[in-house]
Amino acid sequence: MQWRDTVRTATEAVRTHRLRSALTMLGILIGITAVILTVGLGNGAKAEVRDQINELGTNLLVVSPGSSTDSSGVRGGFGSSSTLTVEDAEAIADPKAAPDVQAVAATATTSVSLTNGDTNWTTTLTGTTPSWAEVRSREVTSGRFIDEDDEAEAANVVVLGPDTASELFTTGNPVGQYVTYNGSKLKVIGVLEELSSSEETSNNDLAVVPFSTYSERLVGGSSRDSVTSIYVKATSEDTLSAAYQETNALLLNLHGITSADDADFSIATQESILTAATSVDKTMTVMLGGIAVISLLVGGIGVMNIMLVSVTERIREIGLRKALGARPRSIRRQFLVEASVLGLAGGVLGVLLGVVGAVVLPHVTDTRVILSLSASLAAIAMAIGIGVVFGVYPASRAARLAPIDALRSE
């Protein structure tokens, strides 16, 4: 029997039992859609995290207070008192001590409520140095960023994030106007450029004040010099690891620590932050992928079930075909191809549904889905494979039927 005839016979059988075939395909379809979307969601989440981390700036090191156990992990549970100070930041900024560091920005942050007349808005107040804009690769769309004079005078000036500005000032240009925090009036001197790709609001919703203003006038507290984190920008991508070494050595020295294991700070690279952030997503992806594979397996069992029913139901047809000269192998092939046709159809429809899902999902749940062609093709191949694997047993049962028994059955 020629392949062409086998395929034709199989598709005819599938088409003859429309409802049954559709239900069988549904099992495969759901599994394949789940696989496609899981992979797509995983890729989407990864891309999102990467974007967010890239928005921090380029060639960046982030020094945080508290210890860390290794160079890649950012361990939670920061020290109860901040161990990093403005002096640390100034030391790293010294070009003689750290030649591969281009710029350093110490930041201290806290959540505050700003008011403008009747409007009030909770945002992140960031106290930092003028170098912040360079380190974080941010620009202002109107007005100017804080400068050395502001820092020296501890001026009551603020640069607002684009979202913060639009929340507090619904009309007109905010530059030149005032916002109030805790009784202190702060003059708005600039508005930051929007990071459009960011899903994370903290990059667009913030208020930046000079570090001196932050520590001396606004927040203060017991440790006026302590900072939340120090951003260190290396001169280039190639010098990033040298900058890391220099920063590490300087801080150990300044803090009087002899063993690197006892460090009371940790330095993270963007790559290490990415790894830490995506490892959580990876776990989710593996879990969801596992569920998807299980649903595919269930779909495969559905195929086997239907093929067994099909063999039983078409026992006379099998007997007749054998009487007319079909060899066992022709019968086996016919049923195998039929199972693969079911798998293929379910797979193709599943990928189509996955594509539809990838278009619809972002509108519904605000998550990004990135489909990959290779994953889609692999999913279709998997669907056919499942058809074949779960078709083997029913097909060989059909092939083994004795023609007289098959013909005799009513």
């Binding site: 005819e12 007749l320 000269g325 023609p403 007289i404």
Partner: protein
């Protein structure tokens, strides 16, 4: 005339659990090229078992069986399938047409398993349908045909491979008297054209169409009588 079919001392024993049933106890039959032979017998006589062996659907326990010169008693399943395909045209009581295929697609089915080219298959299927007088029904599905017409399609399917023998198992069992006459008339025609026909039946008046009747009783050939030549 040369014998197209030679059975010699065929026995067939079925083992159902502990009980052994001897369905055939030494049957010897010879059928010549172009003969029209009826095999008759009551139910339980071993008639069906004999039909299965004649049709190469089953192998005998002992004895020799030559079909068109080949010894088929000891062939494996693949070779038996080939022999059935080449040498035997089946006509069943239940017609056994595939309901989802049109008449000509049913007729071409044996040729599919010989690997015949598509165009030739269709040509030969249509020719076989014309031979049974159903050229104008080629595209009808079995459900759209009467019982008699369905059996004609089945006979066309049996003819299409030009087999050494047409083996008809109770071909009129499911037909009314008009269709019965119709189908038997067709078999007579085919016989006149030189086809070898083996007809298995339990009805005496159907058997009378054959040149020769072989009576099976208790797994043995009881008598061979020459019937009325149609």
């Amino acid at each position: 005339m040369s014998a197209v079919l030679q059975l010699h001392d065929i026995t067939k024993t079925y083992a159902t659990g502990a009980v052994e049933v001897q369905a055939l106890r030494g049957v010897s039959i010879e059928i010549d090229q172009g003969e029209f032979v009826a095999i008759v017998g009551p139910s339980g006589s071993g008639k069906s078992t004999l039909m299965h062996i004649l049709g190469c659907l089953d192998t005998p326990t002992a004895g020799t069986f030559h079909l068109a010169g080949d010894d088929v008693a000891s062939l494996d399943e693949d070779r038996l399938a080939e022999v059935r395909n080449r040498h035997i045209g089946f006509v069943f009581q239940q017609f056994n047409l595939l309901p989802y295929l049109s008449a000509w697609r049913n007729v071409e089915l044996p040729l599919v398993y010989t690997g015949t080219d598509r165009h030739e298959r269709k040509e030969r299927a249509l020719a076989a349908l014309a031979q049974v007088g159903l050229a104008d029904r080629a595209d009808h599905k079995p459900g759209e045909l009467s019982g008699g017409q369905q059996q004609r399609v089945a006979i066309a399917r049996a003819l299409v491979t030009e087999p050494a023998m047409i083996l008809a198992d109770e071909p009129t069992g499911n037909l009314d008297s008009v269709s019965t006459a119709d189908v038997l008339g067709l078999l007579d025609d085919l016989h006149r054209q030189g086809r070898t026909i083996v007809l298995i039946t339990h009805e005496q008046d159907v058997a009378e169409h054959a040149e020769r009747t072989v009576q099976i009783y208790d797994g043995q050939v009881r008598t061979e009588v020459a019937g009325a030549v149609a």
